[in-house]
């Protein structure tokens, strides 16, 4: 199998992700690691809470991975995403892509994270000192 997709309630393992996509035909691995930032628009964020519509999220992630395989000469794609509460500095998402040559790895990795943010039914809530907000819910 050339695609590994997982939603996880526990800490994501960066080394596992790299090891999983590593393959002898590949000359490069591109890894995107999303991390929880301590502020949004100048306001301190204490933590994030992620929620997923799991069945549909997996299905949409599979579609994105398949599209990347169709668009670029990619050997292996891994997408892991967290759910639950994450503290500043923790990792909500890891995308790893292995290809023979680097251009495809950069392009595919960027396509996957950009599309994930647009279509995959996962939501994050920013929790502040004085309240909380579902990101992007309102104009």
């Amino acid at each position: 199998m050339d695609i590994e997709i997982k939603l996880s309630v526990t800490t994501l393992d960066v080394q596992h992700c790299i090891d999983w996509v590593m393959s002898p035909e590949c000359g490069g691995i591109d890894v995107f690691i999303g991390t929880v930032r301590n502020a949004t628009k100048g306001k301190a964020v204490l933590r994030l809470a992620f929620e997923a519509y799991e069945k549909m999220a997996i299905k949409e992630l599979e579609k994105i991975a398949q599209q990347a395989l169709d668009k670029w000469p990619v050997q292996k794609i891994l997408i892991h995403h967290r759910t639950g509460v994450l503290q500043v500095g923790e990792i909500p998402v890891i995308i790893a892509v292995a290809t023979a040559h680097r251009d495809a790895a950069f392009d595919a990795c960027r396509y996957i994270i950009d599309t994930l943010k647009q279509t995959v039914p996962i939501w994050k809530k920013e929790i502040f000192e004085d309240g909380e907000v579902w990101v992007a819910a309102h104009p």
């Binding site: 999220a57 299905k59 994930l116 279509t119 995959v120 039914p121 939501w123 579902w134």
Partner: protein, 80 residues
């Protein structure tokens, strides 16, 4: 017919829970469902946008809703 609706993210707050049940005509479309929900929960109209998913796929306004479908309201996503 009675259909069950799953809610996530902010729509869970709007509906006051992770699921609700609504009464629709047998030949109802996604558009009919949205109209009904927006009547009962006007806060839906304040969202940037929202989609309806039927059986884990994004649905169009003209798609028909069936009694046993898994229906979900998908507010603006914000993963990653």
């Amino acid at each position: 017919m009675k259909v069950n609706i799953l809610a996530f993210g902010i729509t869970k707050d709007i509906f006051g829970g992770p699921a609700l049940s609504v009464d629709l005509n047998n030949d109802a479309t996604v558009s009919n469902l949205k109209y009904l929900l927006e009547g009962q929960y006007p806060q839906l109209k304040k969202l940037s946008t929202y989609m309806v998913a039927i059986n884990n796929e994004y649905a169009l306004d003209g798609d028909t809703v069936h009694e046993r479908d898994e229906i979900a309201i998908i507010p603006p996503v914000s993963g990653g």
